[in-house]
Structures are given as C-alpha cells and as structure tokens.
C-alpha cells in the first residue's frame, strides 16, 4: 500500500512539518521525502506506506484537502501503482 503524497504550490514555512504531522496523526509511515522546484513552483514528494493508516481513503482525502486549503497549496495522494503503470514498461 505504497503511495506518493505530493504537495505543490508557493513555498511557505512549515510545509514538511504540517504534512508529516498529519501523517503521524493518521499512522502513515514516511519512507522518503524529496523537494524540488518545478516551473517556479515548490514541490514536495513523500513516499509513504498506507498499510496501517488509521482512516479510510475518503477520510484521508478529506484531511489532506483540509490541510491543502489551510496552507494554500495542492496536495494529492496517489498510489505507487499509478506511476508504475505510466512510467515503466
């Protein structure tokens, strides 16, 4: 149950802290983190394991949407299989 949490938008203080705080609350294990700038926008990518996540997908999306609205950024949670399918043969 690996997934990527991507956070995009204008860089602000505490992005990593807030997103990892949410992961901690929901018992989501963070396995790797990287940050980059894409066309002038800040982008953080977290590889996480959702196996022991304490809420269902709908609730997880509600929580990430709420955090995204609070930070004025865009957060997506997408399963690893999607990237696997699109970018590997």
């Amino acid at each position: 149950m690996k997934a990527f949490i991507t956070v995009m938008g204008h860089d602000t203080v505490g992005v990593v802290a807030k997103v990892s705080g949410l992961c901690s609350q929901l018992n989501i294990n963070i396995e790797d983190v990287t940050q980059s700038i894409l066309q002038g926008m800040f982008a953080m990518i977290m590889l996480v394991d959702l196996t022991n996540c304490s809420v269902d997908h709908e609730e997880l999306h509600r929580r990430t949407d709420a955090l995204a609205a609070e930070m004025g950024m865009q957060i997506n949670v997408t399963r690893q299989e999607v990237f696997d399918a699109m970018h590997t043969i």
Binding site: T6, I45, H61, N76, V77, T78, F83
Partner: protein, 455 residues
C-alpha cells in the same frame, strides 16, 4: 524514491490536476439474451433483475478505486444487448416499456447512462427491428439516461438504405419530441456504420451478441494531456517528433486505463473486456482535440491541414496505446464531437469549421459527424443523406463512422443549443439543404464494396 524519477511523478500529478487527464468511463457490458421472454412484462422484470444484480456494486467499486488510487474516473455506465433482439420475441409489446426498464435499472444502480436501445440492421430488418427504430424518439423523450444506436451499414453488408431513410426521420422526430429540453433526444441517438460491439462510449454503446455474459470495458481520455505535452515542444520541431510525443503520451494515458480495468475487473469478479484508446474531449478549456491540432500548427481547427494533422494524431494515439493495453477495442481513435469540445465550438462559431470539413476529417479518425447541431428546418431526407455519406466513408474505408446530429427545432444557423454537462453546447451549423429525397426514397441496399471480399 530511488526507483522513481521526481519529474515523472510531478508530470503525472500535473496531467491529473491541470491537464484534465481522467478515465472517461468504466462501462459494464451485460448480455440480456437470457432475459428474452414472450411476455413483455416478464422480459422487463428479467432485464431489471439482471442489471440491478450484475451492476449492483459497479458504482461504489469504481468510486472506491478512484479514491484509493487517486485516479479521476468520470463516468460509470452500462451497455446491454440490443433491445431489438429481445423485442423480436414479443410482437405485441410497447418497445418504450423496455426503455423505461433500462432507465429504472440504471438509476437504481446509479450509473450515468445505459446504452443498448439499439438495433443492428446493416443487412436488413428482423422481427423487432422496425418497431424499435420507430419507437426511438418516444423512448428517448420518456427516459433520462437511456441511449440509442442503430447500425445501418457495414463493409461486409453494404448500406441498408431503407434503414437510412427511417433514421433520418427518427433523428428529426427525437429532436421534435424534446424541443422543450434543448432537443436532447437527438443527442442520445447515434447512427452507425461498422458499429463495434464492445464500445464503452455513449451514446453508441451496446453489448454485441458475440460478447460474454458480463464484462468491464474502460474508455480513457486525455486530450488535455496530449495538448500540454505538445505545447512544450518547440514550434520548429519536425512532425516526426510531434508523432513520437503523442505516442509516448498516449502510452501513459492508456496504461492508467489498463490499471483501472484490471482493478475493476478483479474487484467486481467480472472479466476485463477492452480498453478503448480514444481521445475524448470535454467542454473544459484545454481538454480539446481541436486544440491539439492547433498546437501542431494550425491557426484554427478546420483550416487546410486539419485532416492531415488529425490523421497523424489518430494514428499516433493507437500506436502509443496498443502496447499499453492487453485488448484494444471499441472506437479507439480521436473523437471530434463539436459541442463537447471547446476548440471545436470556437472553430464552428468563427465559421472556420464546416460540416463538409468535418466529413473529410471523419475519413481519418473516429468517429463521425458527432454532436453537430443543425438548423431545425433541415428535412429528414437531408439528414438521411448525411447519414448515407458518412456511412459510405465507413463502409469503403473499413472503419466505424457515425452520425449524431441534433436538429435545433425552431432555430436557425447562428443560434445555439446548450445541453449542459459533458454534452456541452454549440452553434447551429449550416447544412447544404438541396434536396436528395429521390435518392433516399429509392430504398433497397447499397451494395458492399470490393473491400468486403477479403477471403
């Protein structure tokens, strides 16, 4: 993260969030052959029970896949055995009762559309076919989510010109009976040549008699993603590079569709049917096939060069998609509906895109004169002749072609119809109104071309 390129990850997210990449439809094909009964009440009861049983979990399962994997999936649909095949067994039935049953069953399971109020008459009429065709306008006026299609020609069979005449009348009547609702009836009716039996896209989806009892088809989309990729290509890049980029993007888009097909098939316990490799536009800005052609270097879709660019696009989408999917089927090509594509609407409004150019475009792409709004005073004979022209292109080129035109009752060229949602809106396009009625009234069967003799 070492296995993943951050650029790939961000590209995917951008395709989903900014370029409108989505899986357009997950369509469950359901055979109704075991619902046939001489008592129409019993037949309708069988149909309702079969659909609501087989598709009971379709919508929640697909919505769960969408939420769990983070893939937007827009429509959940059902296609069924052409209803004319069931109607043949009950000569006294009111065909519209079958349409109402499909409508009720589809609403019960929460799908967007049910396709299959259909007849396959490319070589002639069997019991039930004429009654179904004559009932289509009323069926579409008295239901909400039922879609209808009729196959009037095939490369192997030629064109059933009696059916062509009937369909011109049916299209006009479907518009007339829904004139108070933007003529929506005609927007739910497709007239085909070489109709595929496993098409997941509406309004032309039906579940052919050669298909299994139940299966899952997936229609991918993503014109916006292709357009965005081409926008990043330098304007002096050779056309080979354009084709290559379309292929690579189509591959990625199609792999998402295949993933969804695998997941839905497994979760529902139903075999995966086909992936339809189509670029299906939406009225959303940027999610347009016309904009892709313009990105290739045309000022406006419809100008000289449009047919060549579309031929390239259609071919590259297939080449990219075919390796990304297990079984390809359905319509598989670029769609060029006018009212569902912001770029096509613009091109039609400016007068750059005409019906004659659309007809030429359909020779090199899927599917045909689609979602074109024509003047309300267009005669049934002209509509029939337009159907015959399109069908001839399909028949001779061994490809699917279709006509879905909406006569705007009480309105003239230059005015608009607005269907809302994915069906969009569009200007009324002028049609050549010279009279072909002697040709249409001849009836009979236009012979199959030499291309049909392949054995």
């Amino acid at each position: 993260m070492s296995m993943f390129n951050t650029g790939d990850i961000l590209e995917t997210i951008e395709m989903f969030t900014q370029d409108n990449l989505d899986v357009r439809t997950v369509t469950m094909g359901i055979s109704l052959l075991d619902c046939i009964d001489p008592d129409p009440k019993k037949a309708c009861e069988n149909i309702y029970n079969k659909i609501t049983t087989k598709a009971a979990q379709l919508v929640p399962t697909v919505e769960n896949i969408s939420a769990e994997y983070g893939i937007p999936i827009i429509n959940k649909r059902i296609s069924v055995t052409p209803i004319a095949m069931l109607l043949g067994a009950c000569p006294d039935a009111d065909p519209v009762d079958f349409a109402k049953t499909l409508d009720a069953a589809g609403k019960k399971v929460g799908v967007n559309f049910v396709g299959g109020y259909s007849a396959l008459v490319h070589k002639g009429f069997s019991a039930g076919d004429r009654r179904l065709i004559q009932s289509i306008p009323r069926a579409l006026a008295e239901t909400d989510i039922v879609c209808s299609s009729v196959n009037i020609g095939a490369t192997k069979a030629g064109l059933n010109m009696d059916a062509v005449k009937l369909m011109g009348e049916a299209v006009k009547k479907a518009s007339e009976l829904t004139a108070d609702r933007q003529c929506i009836g005609a927007a739910k009716l497709v007239v085909f040549c070489n109709a595929p039996e496993d098409n997941p896209f509406m309004a032309g989806a039906f579940h052919g008699p050669g298909e299994p009892d139940c299966e899952i088809h997936v229609g991918v989309s993503g014109p916006g993603a292709v357009r965005a990729a081409l926008a990043r290509l330098p304007k002096d890049a050779p056309i080979d590079e354009v084709a290559e980029l379309v292929k690579r993007t189509a591959f990625k888009i199609t792999r998402v569709g295949q993933l969804v097909a695998n997941l839905a098939s497994k979760a529902l316990g139903v075999p995966a049917g086909i992936i339809d490799l189509s670029l299906a536009p939406t009225p959303a800005v940027g999610d347009s096939v016309a904009n892709i052609l313009e990105e290739m270097g045309l000022e406006t879709c419809g100008c000289c060069g449009t047919t060549a660019c579309l031929a390239l696009l259609n071919d590259a989408v297939k080449k990219g998609g075919v390796m990304a999917s297990n079984h390809v089927g359905g319509l598989s090509g670029a769609f060029i509906p006018v009212s569902e594509d912001a770029g096509m609407i613009h091109a039609a409004e400016t007068g750059c895109l005409t019906i004659e150019k659309l007809e030429a475009m359909t020779a090199v792409c899927s599917v045909g004169i689609d979602m074109v709004i024509i003047p309300g005073d267009t005669t049934p004979a002209v509509i029939s002749a337009l159907i015959a022209d399109e069908a001839a292109i399909g028949m001779v080129n061994s490809k699917t072609t279709a006509v879905r035109v909406i006569p705007a009752i009480g309105r003239k060229a230059g005015e608009v119809l607005d269907f809302g949602g994915l069906l969009g809106y569009g200007p009324i396009m002028p049609v050549n109104s010279h009279d072909p009625s002697v040709f249409i009234n001849r009836g009979g069967r236009l012979p199959a071309p030499m291309q049909s003799l392949k054995n």
